[in-house]
């Protein structure tokens, strides 16, 4: 499968994502510069972490006007899979491709630490190889990952099953101490209503080999590959 990794000025996790997809998982990966306007032949788009445009004004606010974002919008509307990680999640929210916003962490600190994520659904393209309720060990690294949306939006996300990952403790319980940034309802990752766009603050590309402390991040990309291969074989 062919992964397209978007690169904005200030993106910094692009090579980590490339390493995971190509070296670890054996797929094809290409970089796509933010001025490009085509996503032809791409099976899954990754918006990696970093500080696009220095996070000026608000995280992700300027990146959403890059030419490639119009191509991304059309790609997503036609059902293409996209994953926004950390800054990529912020960009997707600013672009209106996902609801809500990532605010400054409630304690104002930058947090670089391991987190446990409880998988809330396993019938999505991003988690289909996970076990129901499986806890994934994946690190966060951000100062603005505090997911916020108004109550109606949060309730809608819950009833539509759009919350894919929640911060949990070692036993899989959703607790306040397990929440690294103050996110509403411990939300770590959400999908859009069509289910083909994922935004998550934790970094699966930083947990892609046991040497790094965990390889759980591979489950997300392996799920995507599995899903794409099934779709391809169906023709």
């Amino acid at each position: 499968m062919r992964f397209g990794i978007l690169v904005f000025p200030g993106t910094w996790s692009d090579t980590d994502c490339h390493h995971q997809v190509s070296d670890v998982l054996g797929q094809e990966a290409v970089y796509i510069w933010h001025r490009d306007t085509a996503l032809d032949g791409i099976d899954c788009v990754i918006l990696p972490g970093g500080f696009s445009y220095g996070d000026y004004l608000r995280a992700g606010a300027i990146a959403r006007f890059s030419p490639v974002m119009e191509a991304l919008r059309a790609y997503v509307e036609s059902g293409g899979l996209a994953v926004g990680i950390c800054n990529g999640f912020q960009v997707l929210c600013e672009a209106g491709l996902l609801p809500g916003v990532l605010m400054r962490n409630s304690h104002l600190e930058y947090r670089c630490q391991w987190t446990n994520l409880r998988t809330e659904r396993t019938d999505s393209p991003f988690t289909e190889l996970c076990q129901p309720g499986q806890s994934l060990r994946i690190p966060v690294s951000h100062g603005e990952g505090n997911y916020f949306a108004d109550k109606d939006t949060l309730d809608r996300l819950e009833s539509n099953g759009q919350v894919l990952f929640r911060y949990c403790d070692d036993s899989g319980r959703i607790t306040e101490p397990a929440n690294p940034n103050g996110s509403a309802r411990n939300i770590a990752g959400i999908i859009n209503d069509k289910g083909n766009v994922l935004g998550m603050m934790p970094h699966p590309e930083r947990s892609c080999e046991e040497l790094l402390g965990s390889a759980d991040g591979n489950l997300i990309f392996s799920s995507i590959i599995n899903n794409l291969q099934r779709s391809a074989s169906r023709g």
Partner: protein, 84 residues
Amino acid sequence: MFLAKINVTLKPTVNDPQGTTVLGGLKSLGFNSVKDVRVGKFLEVKVDETDPSKARSVVNDMCEKLLANPVIEQYSVELVEDPG
């Protein structure tokens, strides 16, 4: 030419941890009468327009599309004539 003085602030319903931290700092300095602090952004934008209502509508458009995020923020605009 007009100078737009734009205040972008968090909506009253949105928690402001920066404001809370500044509030704590002020209290520890002995400003005991301080009751609340909200932190926002101030922007000055010069627009080359001759009609004030056109200038205001252009600036409002900027706020809606980029300068404020309507999910969490609100804005106010003060427009003054600028000699350039």
